[in-house]
Amino acid sequence: MLVTLLIMSNNKSENIIIEAKNLTRIYGGKDEACKALDGVSFTIKKGESVAIIGKSGSGKSTLMHILACLDKPTSGELLINGIDVSKMSEKQQEILRGESFGFVFQQFFLNPNDTVLENVVLPLKIIGKDSKKIREEKSIAILNEVDILNKKNNKSKNLSGGQKQRVCIARALISNPQIIFADEPTGNLDSVNGETIEKILFGLNKKGITLILVTHDQDLAKKCQRQISIKDGKIVKKL
């Protein structure tokens, strides 16, 4: 509901979904301060696929966490759908994460003893949406889309890496998000499985979901429409 309001309130720059202005993130106290991000600014349009590239320790993960409202910038502004995140209440940020964002992690973070179906319905359960029956219907449709429906009653710990990542994508899709944040989605997969996951993710992007991909893999990054390269917390190249 909030999200619809956010979309409606945004008349000027209709196509801009994320706008970062001079984002800085400093870890630690005054003495041992560590600048993980240093004045990062960019915009992302609705429906784009953007890769954030950089080596480990470059600040790319910090940037993604801030964009996904999992972390707060020390200074700078972040606008999502034209609204300043720092002015949102904690509750509004939770709704934003729960209803507008989808997350795909390198380590999957599936609950190992739960079934595939249980893992996929989790986001809907958390935000308290739909009845049990509707939740399951939705998950079945999505599991079918990512081609893992035959494993729906298996415990997730018994799946292979590629299968796990598909479940993870299904979980990210269940709440019908505007943006998918994918943190090294192919990092733990072999090349065959990696390609399948890539195909799924870019397929989703074609359907209109904004894809923000964090990776150190240049080949994967090149498949995105735009690349933002980060080094020592600063943008070194924007395409």
Partner: protein, 416 residues
């Protein structure tokens, strides 16, 4: 998350580490059962004491003079010569007049204690029995099975007399005539009186098995030992007051106290008995509290371990839009589920214990006190202790759950 989902998720989470959950639940069961047993035994004592004692009237008082020798079993009391010389420690007939005149607005009646020296009780065609007979003062209730308290020329009998006197049951006895023989004060001759049974009372340890009204007792004593009806002196008097409010009663007691007279109600006289029950209850509850405290640490430990094991999951839930409140609720409900299941098992065990403890106690140490039910589990106790156990579970999980709710999602996801 919907409340239904929270509860089912929390409950399912408990089964992830079955051994730990079972052990913690066991601790809760031990604590709750101890609490239920303590409460039930306390109920048993209270019921027994009140069944036996709650027959006194709040409007009848026993008056004694301050400093009068009151002999107690197991104590040696020094003889005071003053008792004899000026008689200030005993009541004389002048005291009765004084009381009636001075407190005419409060005191309805003053009684010299009347004793009935019963020789026998019998019924035409049946055997004679002996027993103790006492006086029932006005406004005094009795634990009646049938009928009512005795008026003039009537008698209240205890249930154990029903069968020996040839009655089918308590209802059958009411309204029938019995004969009592009463000794004179030298216990040489006895005289016969016919009385109508007014009612049948439950057997009680603390009241006389046969009771007659004050008027009947006075009438009988006038015939068998006239000098005892209005004695020269008496160690105590009984008074029957008008209905008094608490403040009126306190005022009255204080006035009497200033005049050197102590007034004690039935309840005052049996205070010690009630105090003993209260003390007993406190001790048993103390023991139960300790075992529940142990269970509390078990719950704290279980919740802490759960948080430690599922830190990543907490991070995930938060990343997926779960609030602090949700995390707090998930772990709190987990503790509440342990409390709930533990308590449910405990109630079953407590009910079963009732079927074991009571028969065994009546076969052994309560052999001679059949009307004493040692273990009385009431629904009220079950509900009361349910709230106690749930409150304890909540408190046990409060700080661990709050700690979990404050975890940073990214750090939680990165934890190993």
């Amino acid at each position: 998350m919907k409340i239904k989902d929270i509860i089912s998720t929390s409950n399912n989470n408990l089964f992830r580490n079955k051994t730990r959950t079972i052990l913690t639940t066991l601790a809760v069961v031990i604590g709750s059962v101890t609490l239920l047993v303590a409460e039930s035994v306390g109920n048993g004592f209270e019921q027994y004491v009140s069944n036996n004692l709650e027959t006194g009237s709040a409007r009848v008082f026993r008056l004694t003079k301050k400093g009068a020798d009151t002999y107690k079993y197991g104590e040696i009391t020094k003889f005071k010569d003053s008792d004899k010389e000026d008689g200030t420690q005993v009541f004389r007939s002048s005291d009765v007049g004084y009381l009636k005149n001075t407190y005419s607005s409060v005191i309805k009646d003053v009684f010299y204690p009347q004793y009935i020296n019963l020789a026998s009780i019998s019924r035409n065609g049946y055997e004679k029995f002996t027993g103790y007979a006492g006086v029932i003062y006005p406004d005094t209730s009795a634990k009646l099975i049938s009928g009512k308290v005795p008026e003039f020329n009537q008698i209240l009998i205890s249930q154990e007399y029903v069968e020996p006197l040839g009655f089918i049951n308590a209802d059958d006895a009411v309204g029938k005539v019995v004969t009592i023989n009463v000794w004179d004060n030298k216990q040489q001759e006895s005289k016969e009186f016919s009385l109508v049974i007014s009612g049948v009372a439950h057997k009680s340890e603390s009241t006389y098995p046969l009771q007659i009204s004050y008027e009947t007792a006075t009438y009988i004593n006038q015939i068998v030992s006239p000098q005892s009806v209005n004695p020269q002196s008496s160690n105590y008097l009984q008074i029957y007051t008008n209905e008094l409010s608490k403040t009126e009663l306190a005022e009255f007691k204080e006035k009497l106290s200033n005049a050197g007279i102590e007034a004690s109600s039935y309840e005052d006289q049996n205070k010690e008995m009630f105090q003993i029950v209260d003390i007993l209850r406190a001790i048993m509850l103390g023991v139960a509290a300790i075992s529940l405290a142990v269970a509390t640490f078990g719950i704290v430990n279980t919740v802490l371990m759960g948080i430690l094991e599922r830190t990543k999951e907490i991070g995930l839930i938060k990343a997926l839009g779960g609030s602090k409140k949700l995390i707090f609720q998930l772990f709190t409900f987990e503790a509440l589920c342990i409390g709930f299941w533990g308590y449910t098992i405990s109630v079953f065990l407590a009910i079963i214990l009732g079927f074991i403890i009571n028969p065994i106690s009546h076969m052994t140490f309560l052999k001679d006190i059949k009307e004493f039910t040692l273990y009385v589990l009431t629904p009220f106790s079950v509900i009361k202790i349910f709230f106690v156990v749930m409150a304890v579970s909540f408190c046990a999980s409060f700080f661990p759950s709050r700690k979990a709710s404050k975890l940073d999602p990214i750090e939680a996801l990165r934890s190993e």
